[in-house]
Protein backbone atom coordinates (compact mmCIF):
# COMPACT_ATOMS: atom_id res chain seq x y z
CA UNK A 1 0.00 0.00 0.00
CA UNK A 2 2.78 2.39 0.97
CA UNK A 3 4.68 1.85 -2.28
CA UNK A 4 1.48 2.65 -4.14
CA UNK A 5 0.97 5.67 -1.91
CA UNK A 6 4.55 6.77 -2.60
CA UNK A 7 3.98 6.46 -6.34
CA UNK A 8 0.77 8.47 -6.14
CA UNK A 9 2.54 11.16 -4.12
CA UNK A 10 5.26 11.40 -6.78
CA UNK A 11 2.78 11.60 -9.63
CA UNK A 12 0.57 14.00 -7.69
CA UNK A 13 3.43 16.46 -7.15
CA UNK A 14 5.28 16.40 -10.49
CA UNK A 15 7.14 19.67 -9.94
CA UNK A 16 8.58 18.53 -6.64
CA UNK A 17 9.42 15.12 -8.11
CA UNK A 18 11.20 16.61 -11.13
CA UNK A 19 13.11 19.07 -8.94
CA UNK A 20 14.38 16.35 -6.64
CA UNK A 21 15.28 14.06 -9.53
CA UNK A 22 17.09 16.94 -11.22
CA UNK A 23 19.04 17.61 -8.06
CA UNK A 24 20.12 13.98 -7.78
CA UNK A 25 21.04 13.95 -11.49
CA UNK A 26 23.04 17.18 -11.23
CA UNK A 27 24.89 16.00 -8.12
CA UNK A 28 25.65 12.66 -9.76
CA UNK A 29 26.67 14.32 -13.01
CA UNK A 30 28.93 16.83 -11.28
CA UNK A 31 30.73 14.21 -9.20
CA UNK A 32 31.02 11.97 -12.26
CA UNK A 33 32.55 14.83 -14.26
CA UNK A 34 35.03 15.68 -11.51
CA UNK A 35 36.01 12.02 -11.14
CA UNK A 36 36.43 11.50 -14.88
CA UNK A 37 38.55 14.65 -15.14
CA UNK A 38 40.75 13.66 -12.22
CA UNK A 39 41.15 10.06 -13.29
CA UNK A 40 41.94 11.07 -16.88
CA UNK A 41 44.72 13.26 -15.59
CA UNK A 42 45.97 10.54 -13.25
CA UNK A 43 45.80 7.89 -15.95
CA UNK A 44 47.83 10.11 -18.28
CA UNK A 45 50.34 10.61 -15.52
CA UNK A 46 50.33 6.92 -14.64
CA UNK A 47 51.08 6.02 -18.25
CA UNK A 48 53.93 8.49 -18.28
CA UNK A 49 55.14 7.17 -14.91
CA UNK A 50 55.09 3.59 -16.18
CA UNK A 51 56.67 4.49 -19.51
CA UNK A 52 59.52 6.41 -17.92
CA UNK A 53 60.37 3.56 -15.61
CA UNK A 54 58.66 4.51 -12.38
CA UNK A 55 58.61 0.89 -11.28
CA UNK A 56 62.06 -0.13 -12.55
CA UNK A 57 64.71 -1.41 -10.18
CA UNK A 58 68.30 -2.34 -10.89
CA UNK A 59 70.16 -5.09 -9.09
CA UNK A 60 73.84 -4.53 -9.80
CA UNK A 61 77.03 -6.31 -8.92
CA UNK A 62 79.63 -6.37 -11.65
CA UNK A 63 79.96 -9.92 -12.99
CA UNK A 64 78.15 -11.47 -10.05
CA UNK A 65 74.47 -11.44 -11.00
CA UNK A 66 73.13 -14.82 -12.05
CA UNK A 67 71.50 -14.26 -15.47
CA UNK A 68 69.22 -17.29 -15.25
CA UNK A 69 68.02 -16.29 -11.81
CA UNK A 70 67.35 -12.78 -13.13
CA UNK A 71 65.18 -14.05 -15.99
CA UNK A 72 63.33 -16.47 -13.75
CA UNK A 73 62.06 -13.56 -11.67
CA UNK A 74 59.24 -13.06 -14.17
CA UNK A 75 57.63 -16.24 -12.86
CA UNK A 76 56.66 -14.25 -9.79
CA UNK A 77 53.52 -12.11 -9.97
CA UNK A 78 55.35 -9.20 -8.34
CA UNK A 79 57.60 -8.93 -11.40
CA UNK A 80 56.44 -7.65 -14.80
CA UNK A 81 59.69 -8.13 -16.70
CA UNK A 82 63.33 -8.79 -15.99
CA UNK A 83 66.52 -9.20 -17.95
CA UNK A 84 70.25 -9.11 -17.43
CA UNK A 85 73.08 -7.23 -19.09
CA UNK A 86 76.80 -7.03 -18.99
CA UNK A 87 79.35 -4.77 -20.51
CA UNK A 88 81.29 -6.33 -23.39
CA UNK A 89 83.80 -3.56 -24.06
CA UNK A 90 83.89 -1.35 -27.08
CA UNK A 91 83.51 -1.92 -30.78
CA UNK A 92 84.38 0.09 -33.86
CA UNK A 93 81.79 0.25 -36.65
CA UNK A 94 83.33 -0.06 -40.08
CA UNK A 95 81.70 3.13 -41.40
CA UNK A 96 83.49 5.15 -38.70
CA UNK A 97 86.83 3.47 -38.20
CA UNK A 98 88.06 6.03 -35.70
CA UNK A 99 85.08 5.72 -33.40
CA UNK A 100 84.30 3.53 -30.43
CA UNK A 101 80.88 2.35 -29.37
CA UNK A 102 79.95 0.42 -26.26
CA UNK A 103 78.72 -3.11 -26.69
CA UNK A 104 76.34 -4.53 -24.10
CA UNK A 105 75.33 -8.14 -24.01
CA UNK A 106 71.74 -8.60 -22.91
CA UNK A 107 69.50 -11.51 -22.07
CA UNK A 108 66.15 -11.79 -23.95
CA UNK A 109 64.07 -10.58 -21.02
CA UNK A 110 65.71 -7.16 -21.02
CA UNK A 111 63.99 -6.19 -24.27
CA UNK A 112 60.59 -6.24 -22.55
CA UNK A 113 62.01 -4.03 -19.79
CA UNK A 114 63.58 -1.55 -22.17
CA UNK A 115 60.73 -1.23 -24.64
CA UNK A 116 57.37 -1.48 -22.83
CA UNK A 117 53.99 -1.26 -24.50
CA UNK A 118 55.35 -0.77 -27.99
CA UNK A 119 55.87 -3.64 -30.34
CA UNK A 120 59.14 -5.18 -29.32
CA UNK A 121 61.25 -5.58 -32.44
CA UNK A 122 62.27 -9.06 -33.29
CA UNK A 123 65.87 -9.33 -32.36
CA UNK A 124 67.61 -9.69 -35.67
CA UNK A 125 69.24 -13.07 -35.97
CA UNK A 126 72.93 -12.65 -35.62
CA UNK A 127 72.40 -8.92 -35.42
CA UNK A 128 72.30 -6.07 -32.98
CA UNK A 129 69.99 -3.67 -31.22
CA UNK A 130 71.02 -0.07 -31.23
CA UNK A 131 69.61 2.91 -29.41
CA UNK A 132 68.19 5.89 -31.24
CA UNK A 133 71.18 8.19 -30.83
CA UNK A 134 73.65 5.47 -31.77
CA UNK A 135 71.64 4.70 -34.90
CA UNK A 136 71.41 8.37 -35.79
CA UNK A 137 75.13 8.95 -35.47
CA UNK A 138 75.75 6.12 -37.94
CA UNK A 139 72.80 6.79 -40.22
CA UNK A 140 71.29 3.40 -39.42
CA UNK A 141 67.67 2.40 -39.67
CA UNK A 142 65.83 -0.84 -39.00
CA UNK A 143 67.19 -3.78 -40.95
CA UNK A 144 70.30 -1.85 -41.96
CA UNK A 145 73.43 -3.95 -42.00
CA UNK A 146 76.49 -2.99 -40.13
CA UNK A 147 79.92 -4.41 -39.85
CA UNK A 148 82.52 -4.00 -37.16
CA UNK A 149 86.22 -4.39 -36.89
CA UNK A 150 85.88 -6.84 -34.00
CA UNK A 151 82.53 -8.59 -34.69
CA UNK A 152 80.73 -10.28 -37.54
CA UNK A 153 78.35 -8.04 -39.54
CA UNK A 154 74.64 -8.22 -39.00
CA UNK A 155 71.30 -6.43 -39.29
CA UNK A 156 70.29 -3.87 -36.71
CA UNK A 157 67.00 -3.05 -35.02
CA UNK A 158 66.68 0.49 -33.76
CA UNK A 159 64.91 0.97 -30.46
CA UNK A 160 63.99 4.01 -28.42
CA UNK A 161 65.75 3.71 -25.08
CA UNK A 162 65.35 7.32 -23.96
CA UNK A 163 62.82 6.51 -21.27
CA UNK A 164 64.14 3.37 -19.66
CA UNK A 165 67.74 2.87 -20.67
CA UNK A 166 69.05 6.26 -21.58
CA UNK A 167 72.60 5.22 -20.67
CA UNK A 168 72.52 2.65 -23.50
CA UNK A 169 71.06 5.00 -26.13
CA UNK A 170 74.37 5.21 -27.92
CA UNK A 171 75.32 1.53 -27.48
CA UNK A 172 75.00 -1.59 -29.50
CA UNK A 173 73.46 -4.61 -27.85
CA UNK A 174 73.88 -8.23 -28.71
CA UNK A 175 71.77 -11.05 -27.42
CA UNK A 176 73.12 -13.75 -25.15
CA UNK A 177 71.48 -16.77 -23.59
CA UNK A 178 70.39 -16.31 -19.96
CA UNK A 179 73.26 -18.25 -18.56
CA UNK A 180 76.34 -17.42 -16.54
CA UNK A 181 76.96 -14.16 -14.79
CA UNK A 182 76.03 -10.64 -15.81
CA UNK A 183 76.63 -7.21 -14.29
CA UNK A 184 73.08 -6.19 -13.64
CA UNK A 185 69.50 -7.33 -13.63
CA UNK A 186 66.96 -4.71 -14.66
CA UNK A 187 63.53 -5.47 -13.24
CA UNK A 188 60.11 -3.91 -13.75
CA UNK A 189 58.02 -4.48 -10.65
CA UNK A 190 54.28 -4.97 -10.68
CA UNK A 191 52.68 -1.73 -9.52
CA UNK A 192 50.29 -3.35 -7.06
CA UNK A 193 53.03 -5.49 -5.51
CA UNK A 194 55.86 -3.00 -5.44
CA UNK A 195 57.06 -3.56 -1.83
CA UNK A 196 56.81 -7.35 -2.24
CA UNK A 197 58.81 -7.09 -5.44
CA UNK A 198 61.59 -5.15 -3.72
CA UNK A 199 61.75 -7.79 -0.98
CA UNK A 200 61.92 -10.51 -3.61
CA UNK A 201 64.87 -8.80 -5.34
CA UNK A 202 66.76 -8.46 -2.06
CA UNK A 203 66.25 -12.15 -1.33
CA UNK A 204 67.12 -13.26 -4.86
CA UNK A 205 70.42 -11.40 -5.05
CA UNK A 206 71.46 -11.64 -1.42
CA UNK A 207 74.51 -13.67 -2.42
CA UNK A 208 75.64 -11.29 -5.18
CA UNK A 209 78.63 -10.06 -3.22
CA UNK A 210 79.39 -7.27 -0.80
CA UNK A 211 79.18 -4.60 -3.49
CA UNK A 212 75.74 -5.65 -4.70
CA UNK A 213 73.15 -2.91 -4.75
CA UNK A 214 69.48 -2.76 -5.42
CA UNK A 215 68.31 0.70 -6.41
CA UNK A 216 65.23 2.14 -7.96
CA UNK A 217 65.97 3.27 -11.48
CA UNK A 218 64.36 6.69 -11.10
CA UNK A 219 65.27 8.96 -8.23
CA UNK A 220 62.40 9.22 -5.73
CA UNK A 221 62.12 12.95 -6.36
CA UNK A 222 62.08 12.60 -10.12
CA UNK A 223 58.28 12.53 -10.24
CA UNK A 224 56.19 15.17 -8.59
CA UNK A 225 53.77 12.71 -7.07
CA UNK A 226 52.79 9.09 -6.91
CA UNK A 227 49.65 8.59 -9.01
CA UNK A 228 48.42 5.70 -6.88
CA UNK A 229 48.64 7.80 -3.73
CA UNK A 230 47.17 10.77 -5.58
CA UNK A 231 44.16 8.67 -6.61
CA UNK A 232 43.62 7.52 -3.04
CA UNK A 233 44.01 11.03 -1.64
CA UNK A 234 41.96 12.94 -4.20
CA UNK A 235 39.63 15.32 -2.37
CA UNK A 236 36.52 14.23 -4.22
CA UNK A 237 37.01 10.62 -3.10
CA UNK A 238 34.61 11.31 -0.27
CA UNK A 239 32.14 13.28 -2.37
CA UNK A 240 29.67 10.44 -1.88
CA UNK A 241 29.37 11.38 1.80
CA UNK A 242 28.72 15.01 0.92
CA UNK A 243 26.22 13.94 -1.73
CA UNK A 244 24.30 11.74 0.69
CA UNK A 245 24.50 14.40 3.40
CA UNK A 246 23.12 17.08 1.09
CA UNK A 247 20.31 14.84 -0.15
CA UNK A 248 19.48 13.81 3.42
CA UNK A 249 19.39 17.48 4.43
CA UNK A 250 17.08 18.28 1.53
CA UNK A 251 14.92 15.35 2.50
CA UNK A 252 14.80 16.80 6.00
CA UNK A 253 13.54 20.08 4.55
CA UNK A 254 10.97 18.17 2.50
CA UNK A 255 9.80 16.44 5.66
CA UNK A 256 9.40 19.84 7.26
CA UNK A 257 7.45 21.23 4.31
CA UNK A 258 5.29 18.11 4.26
CA UNK A 259 4.84 17.99 8.02
CA UNK A 260 1.13 18.64 7.73
CA UNK A 261 0.63 15.82 5.22
CA UNK A 262 2.72 13.49 7.36
CA UNK A 263 0.75 14.48 10.46
CA UNK A 264 -2.41 13.70 8.50
CA UNK A 265 -1.08 10.26 7.59
CA UNK A 266 -0.28 9.69 11.26
CA UNK A 267 -3.68 10.87 12.38
CA UNK A 268 -5.33 8.55 9.91
CA UNK A 269 -3.44 5.53 11.20
CA UNK A 270 0.03 5.38 9.61
CA UNK A 271 2.87 4.54 11.96
CA UNK A 272 6.24 6.24 11.91
CA UNK A 273 7.69 3.10 10.33
CA UNK A 274 5.02 3.27 7.61
CA UNK A 275 6.04 6.85 6.86
CA UNK A 276 9.73 5.92 6.79
CA UNK A 277 8.91 3.15 4.35
CA UNK A 278 6.83 5.51 2.22
CA UNK A 279 9.59 8.13 2.07
CA UNK A 280 12.12 5.40 1.24
CA UNK A 281 9.82 4.13 -1.50
CA UNK A 282 9.51 7.63 -2.96
CA UNK A 283 13.32 7.82 -3.05
CA UNK A 284 13.77 4.33 -4.48
CA UNK A 285 11.28 5.11 -7.24
CA UNK A 286 13.10 8.29 -8.32
CA UNK A 287 16.72 8.50 -7.18
CA UNK A 288 18.19 5.49 -9.05
CA UNK A 289 16.68 6.69 -12.31
CA UNK A 290 18.02 10.20 -11.69
CA UNK A 291 21.41 8.69 -10.82
CA UNK A 292 21.54 6.82 -14.13
CA UNK A 293 20.49 9.89 -16.10
CA UNK A 294 23.07 12.08 -14.30
CA UNK A 295 25.89 9.60 -14.78
CA UNK A 296 25.10 8.94 -18.45
CA UNK A 297 24.64 12.60 -19.25
CA UNK A 298 27.90 13.58 -17.61
CA UNK A 299 29.84 10.69 -19.16
CA UNK A 300 28.49 11.41 -22.63
CA UNK A 301 29.40 15.10 -22.47
CA UNK A 302 32.81 14.31 -21.01
CA UNK A 303 33.50 11.76 -23.72
CA UNK A 304 32.35 14.14 -26.42
CA UNK A 305 34.73 16.83 -25.21
CA UNK A 306 37.78 14.62 -24.63
CA UNK A 307 39.57 12.75 -27.40
CA UNK A 308 40.95 9.96 -25.20
CA UNK A 309 38.47 7.10 -24.81
CA UNK A 310 37.36 6.46 -21.26
CA UNK A 311 38.40 3.18 -19.72
CA UNK A 312 36.37 0.90 -17.50
CA UNK A 313 38.32 1.81 -14.38
CA UNK A 314 37.41 5.47 -14.73
CA UNK A 315 33.73 4.72 -15.12
CA UNK A 316 33.92 2.29 -12.21
CA UNK A 317 35.56 4.90 -9.95
CA UNK A 318 32.91 7.50 -10.80
CA UNK A 319 30.07 4.99 -10.49
CA UNK A 320 31.39 3.70 -7.18
CA UNK A 321 31.62 7.21 -5.75
CA UNK A 322 28.17 8.38 -6.81
CA UNK A 323 26.63 4.95 -6.26
CA UNK A 324 27.88 4.93 -2.69
CA UNK A 325 26.30 8.35 -2.23
CA UNK A 326 23.03 7.02 -3.60
CA UNK A 327 23.05 3.96 -1.34
CA UNK A 328 23.87 6.05 1.70
CA UNK A 329 21.03 8.40 0.78
CA UNK A 330 18.64 5.47 0.49
CA UNK A 331 19.67 4.42 3.99
CA UNK A 332 19.58 7.91 5.51
CA UNK A 333 16.14 8.93 4.28
CA UNK A 334 14.10 6.33 6.20
CA UNK A 335 16.35 6.80 9.23
CA UNK A 336 15.81 10.56 8.99
CA UNK A 337 12.07 10.03 8.76
CA UNK A 338 12.15 7.77 11.82
CA UNK A 339 14.17 10.33 13.77
CA UNK A 340 12.20 13.35 12.56
CA UNK A 341 11.11 15.13 15.70
CA UNK A 342 7.43 15.82 15.67
CA UNK A 343 5.76 18.55 17.58
CA UNK A 344 2.18 18.22 18.68
CA UNK A 345 0.12 16.55 15.91
CA UNK A 346 -2.72 19.02 16.29
CA UNK A 347 -0.27 21.88 15.73
CA UNK A 348 1.30 20.21 12.70
CA UNK A 349 -2.08 19.61 11.13
CA UNK A 350 -2.66 23.34 11.18
CA UNK A 351 0.74 24.09 9.60
CA UNK A 352 -0.50 24.24 6.05
Amino acid sequence: MLASEAWRNLVGAPTRTVLIMSLVAVLTGTITWVELTATSSLIDFQRSYDLRGGYLTLAYSQGRIDAARCERLTRNTAIEAAGGFRSAGTITPSPLPASLYSLTEITPGLIAVDVPESVVPTFPTGGYLVGGSGAKSLGLSNQSYISFAQLPPGPVAVVDLTNRAEEREGSFMSLIAPQGMVDGCMVELTRSAYPAGLDLLSATFADAGPDASINVYRRPDEFTFDPVAALADRPQARAWIAMAGLLALINWLILWFRRSDLALYTTLGSSRTDLAFMMAAETILTAPLAWIVGALWSTAIFQASHPEPLIGDQLAIAARNTGSGLLLTLALIPIGTLLYRRTDLATQLKDR
Binding site: N9, G12, Y265, T267, G269, L349, K350
Partner: protein
Protein backbone atom coordinates in the same frame (compact mmCIF):
# COMPACT_ATOMS: atom_id res chain seq x y z
CA UNK B 1 -18.79 3.26 23.29
CA UNK B 2 -18.38 5.80 26.08
CA UNK B 3 -15.86 8.58 25.92
CA UNK B 4 -14.78 10.21 29.18
CA UNK B 5 -12.22 12.75 30.29
CA UNK B 6 -11.07 13.13 33.90
CA UNK B 7 -9.45 16.20 35.43
CA UNK B 8 -7.92 17.30 32.15
CA UNK B 9 -5.56 20.24 32.54
CA UNK B 10 -3.44 21.68 29.78
CA UNK B 11 -0.94 24.49 29.44
CA UNK B 12 0.95 25.39 26.26
CA UNK B 13 3.95 26.47 28.32
CA UNK B 14 4.87 25.65 31.90
CA UNK B 15 4.65 29.30 32.95
CA UNK B 16 1.57 30.11 30.90
CA UNK B 17 -2.03 30.17 32.05
CA UNK B 18 -4.01 26.90 31.82
CA UNK B 19 -6.09 26.53 28.67
CA UNK B 20 -8.05 23.75 30.33
CA UNK B 21 -8.28 23.61 34.09
CA UNK B 22 -9.65 20.37 35.46
CA UNK B 23 -12.18 19.43 32.81
CA UNK B 24 -14.40 16.39 33.38
CA UNK B 25 -16.42 15.22 30.44
CA UNK B 26 -18.52 12.22 29.44
CA UNK B 27 -20.49 11.42 26.34
CA UNK B 28 -22.73 8.45 25.77
CA UNK B 29 -22.62 6.16 22.78
CA UNK B 30 -24.52 7.44 19.77
CA UNK B 31 -25.10 10.92 21.09
CA UNK B 32 -23.83 14.19 19.73
CA UNK B 33 -22.25 16.95 21.79
CA UNK B 34 -21.32 20.45 20.74
CA UNK B 35 -18.37 22.11 22.47
CA UNK B 36 -18.90 25.82 22.23
CA UNK B 37 -17.11 28.86 23.48
CA UNK B 38 -15.33 31.94 22.20
CA UNK B 39 -12.19 31.78 20.10
CA UNK B 40 -9.19 30.75 22.20
CA UNK B 41 -11.35 29.16 24.88
CA UNK B 42 -9.71 25.74 24.32
CA UNK B 43 -12.40 23.92 22.29
CA UNK B 44 -9.99 22.68 19.64
CA UNK B 45 -7.38 21.84 22.25
CA UNK B 46 -9.86 19.77 24.22
CA UNK B 47 -10.98 18.00 21.06
CA UNK B 48 -7.34 17.24 20.18
CA UNK B 49 -6.83 15.83 23.68
CA UNK B 50 -9.98 13.70 23.40
CA UNK B 51 -8.67 12.20 20.15
CA UNK B 52 -5.08 11.69 21.31
CA UNK B 53 -3.55 14.30 19.01
CA UNK B 54 -2.34 16.30 21.99
CA UNK B 55 -1.18 14.90 25.29
CA UNK B 56 -2.72 16.80 28.22
CA UNK B 57 -0.48 18.26 30.89
CA UNK B 58 -2.57 16.40 33.43
CA UNK B 59 -5.55 14.06 33.48
CA UNK B 60 -6.63 11.29 31.16
CA UNK B 61 -9.08 10.39 28.44
CA UNK B 62 -10.75 6.97 28.46
CA UNK B 63 -12.67 5.08 25.80
CA UNK B 64 -14.79 2.34 27.34
CA UNK B 65 -12.65 2.59 30.45
CA UNK B 66 -9.37 2.22 28.58
CA UNK B 67 -6.98 5.17 28.39
CA UNK B 68 -6.40 6.71 25.00
CA UNK B 69 -2.66 6.28 24.82
CA UNK B 70 -2.19 6.52 21.09
CA UNK B 71 -4.12 7.20 17.95
CA UNK B 72 -6.58 4.46 17.24
CA UNK B 73 -9.25 3.59 14.75
CA UNK B 74 -11.82 4.56 17.38
CA UNK B 75 -11.79 8.11 16.03
CA UNK B 76 -12.74 9.72 12.78
CA UNK B 77 -11.57 13.28 12.27
CA UNK B 78 -13.04 16.29 10.51
CA UNK B 79 -10.73 19.27 10.79
CA UNK B 80 -11.38 22.96 10.49
CA UNK B 81 -8.53 23.54 8.06
CA UNK B 82 -9.70 21.14 5.34
CA UNK B 83 -6.85 18.77 6.09
CA UNK B 84 -6.62 16.78 2.89
CA UNK B 85 -3.79 15.76 0.61
CA UNK B 86 -4.26 18.56 -1.89
CA UNK B 87 -2.47 16.93 -4.80
CA UNK B 88 -4.45 13.71 -4.53
CA UNK B 89 -7.95 12.90 -5.71
CA UNK B 90 -11.05 12.92 -3.52
CA UNK B 91 -11.11 9.13 -3.76
CA UNK B 92 -7.44 8.87 -2.70
CA UNK B 93 -8.18 10.98 0.36
CA UNK B 94 -11.13 8.88 1.41
CA UNK B 95 -9.32 5.57 0.96
CA UNK B 96 -6.26 6.81 2.86
CA UNK B 97 -7.25 5.78 6.42
CA UNK B 98 -8.25 2.33 5.18
CA UNK B 99 -5.01 1.85 3.29
CA UNK B 100 -3.08 3.02 6.35
CA UNK B 101 -4.70 0.16 8.23
CA UNK B 102 -3.51 -2.35 5.70
CA UNK B 103 -6.53 -2.70 3.43
CA UNK B 104 -6.17 -3.36 -0.31
CA UNK B 105 -6.99 -0.34 -2.40
CA UNK B 106 -9.16 -2.28 -4.83
CA UNK B 107 -11.28 -3.70 -2.05
CA UNK B 108 -11.95 -0.34 -0.36
CA UNK B 109 -12.67 1.80 -3.40
CA UNK B 110 -16.38 0.81 -3.72
CA UNK B 111 -17.08 1.80 -0.12
CA UNK B 112 -15.12 5.05 -0.53
CA UNK B 113 -17.13 5.87 -3.66
CA UNK B 114 -20.33 5.13 -1.77
CA UNK B 115 -19.32 7.53 1.01
CA UNK B 116 -18.49 10.25 -1.50
CA UNK B 117 -21.91 9.76 -3.08
CA UNK B 118 -23.46 9.94 0.38
CA UNK B 119 -21.94 13.37 0.96
CA UNK B 120 -23.02 14.55 -2.49
CA UNK B 121 -19.70 14.21 -4.31
CA UNK B 122 -20.52 11.27 -6.56
CA UNK B 123 -19.47 13.24 -9.62
CA UNK B 124 -16.25 14.57 -8.10
CA UNK B 125 -14.62 11.29 -7.12
CA UNK B 126 -11.58 11.67 -9.37
CA UNK B 127 -11.22 15.43 -8.84
CA UNK B 128 -7.89 16.56 -7.38
CA UNK B 129 -8.55 17.80 -3.85
CA UNK B 130 -7.07 21.26 -4.32
CA UNK B 131 -9.41 21.88 -7.24
CA UNK B 132 -12.44 21.40 -4.97
CA UNK B 133 -14.26 24.24 -3.23
CA UNK B 134 -14.02 24.63 0.55
CA UNK B 135 -17.41 23.02 1.09
CA UNK B 136 -16.65 20.12 -1.24
CA UNK B 137 -13.30 19.56 0.44
CA UNK B 138 -14.92 19.51 3.86
CA UNK B 139 -17.39 16.91 2.62
CA UNK B 140 -14.44 14.82 1.36
CA UNK B 141 -13.06 15.05 4.90
CA UNK B 142 -16.40 13.91 6.31
CA UNK B 143 -16.43 10.91 3.96
CA UNK B 144 -12.85 10.15 4.98
CA UNK B 145 -13.77 10.37 8.68
CA UNK B 146 -16.52 7.81 8.14
CA UNK B 147 -14.43 5.45 6.04
CA UNK B 148 -13.14 3.43 8.98
CA UNK B 149 -16.59 3.25 10.58
CA UNK B 150 -15.28 4.93 13.73
CA UNK B 151 -17.06 4.77 17.07
CA UNK B 152 -16.45 8.45 17.69
CA UNK B 153 -16.27 11.28 15.16
CA UNK B 154 -14.45 14.39 16.32
CA UNK B 155 -15.15 17.48 14.25
CA UNK B 156 -13.24 20.71 14.78
CA UNK B 157 -15.14 23.72 13.45
CA UNK B 158 -16.39 21.79 10.41
CA UNK B 159 -18.14 24.87 9.06
CA UNK B 160 -15.65 27.43 10.34
CA UNK B 161 -14.55 28.64 6.90
CA UNK B 162 -17.81 28.24 5.03
CA UNK B 163 -20.74 30.49 4.17
CA UNK B 164 -24.21 29.72 5.51
CA UNK B 165 -25.45 27.85 2.44
CA UNK B 166 -22.35 25.70 2.18
CA UNK B 167 -22.39 25.13 5.94
CA UNK B 168 -25.86 23.71 5.59
CA UNK B 169 -24.73 21.34 2.86
CA UNK B 170 -21.77 20.19 4.94
CA UNK B 171 -23.86 19.63 8.05
CA UNK B 172 -26.43 17.71 6.05
CA UNK B 173 -23.63 15.58 4.70
CA UNK B 174 -22.20 15.01 8.17
CA UNK B 175 -25.47 13.95 9.69
CA UNK B 176 -26.36 11.85 6.64
CA UNK B 177 -23.10 9.94 6.82
CA UNK B 178 -23.19 9.49 10.57
CA UNK B 179 -24.50 6.06 11.60
CA UNK B 180 -26.83 6.06 14.61
CA UNK B 181 -24.37 4.28 16.88
CA UNK B 182 -21.58 6.75 16.25
CA UNK B 183 -20.79 9.36 18.86
CA UNK B 184 -20.15 12.87 17.58
CA UNK B 185 -18.23 15.58 19.42
CA UNK B 186 -18.04 18.82 17.52
CA UNK B 187 -16.17 21.95 18.51
CA UNK B 188 -17.94 24.95 17.08
CA UNK B 189 -18.90 28.54 17.64
CA UNK B 190 -21.66 28.18 15.06
CA UNK B 191 -25.07 28.05 16.77
CA UNK B 192 -26.55 26.27 13.75
CA UNK B 193 -24.19 23.40 14.32
CA UNK B 194 -24.77 23.40 18.08
CA UNK B 195 -28.53 23.34 17.61
CA UNK B 196 -28.31 20.05 15.68
CA UNK B 197 -26.55 18.32 18.58
CA UNK B 198 -28.19 16.41 21.42
CA UNK B 199 -26.22 18.34 24.00
CA UNK B 200 -24.30 21.59 24.15
CA UNK B 201 -21.47 22.32 26.58
CA UNK B 202 -19.51 25.51 26.80
CA UNK B 203 -15.87 25.93 27.65
CA UNK B 204 -15.26 29.05 29.67
CA UNK B 205 -12.14 30.02 31.63
CA UNK B 206 -10.80 26.53 31.15
CA UNK B 207 -13.87 24.85 32.64
CA UNK B 208 -16.82 23.01 31.10
CA UNK B 209 -20.21 24.52 31.67
CA UNK B 210 -23.38 22.60 30.72
Amino acid sequence: MSLTAHSVRHRYSPAGPPVLDGVDFEVETGSSVALTGPSGSGKSTFLAILGGLTQPTHGEVMVDGQPVVRLSSTFGWVFQANNALGRRTALDNVTLPLLARGAERRSVEPEACHLLELVGLGTRIEAVARSLSGGELQRVCIARAMATQPSVVLADEPTGQLDATTSGLVLDALWAALPGSTTLVVATHDQTVASRCDRVVQISDGKLVE
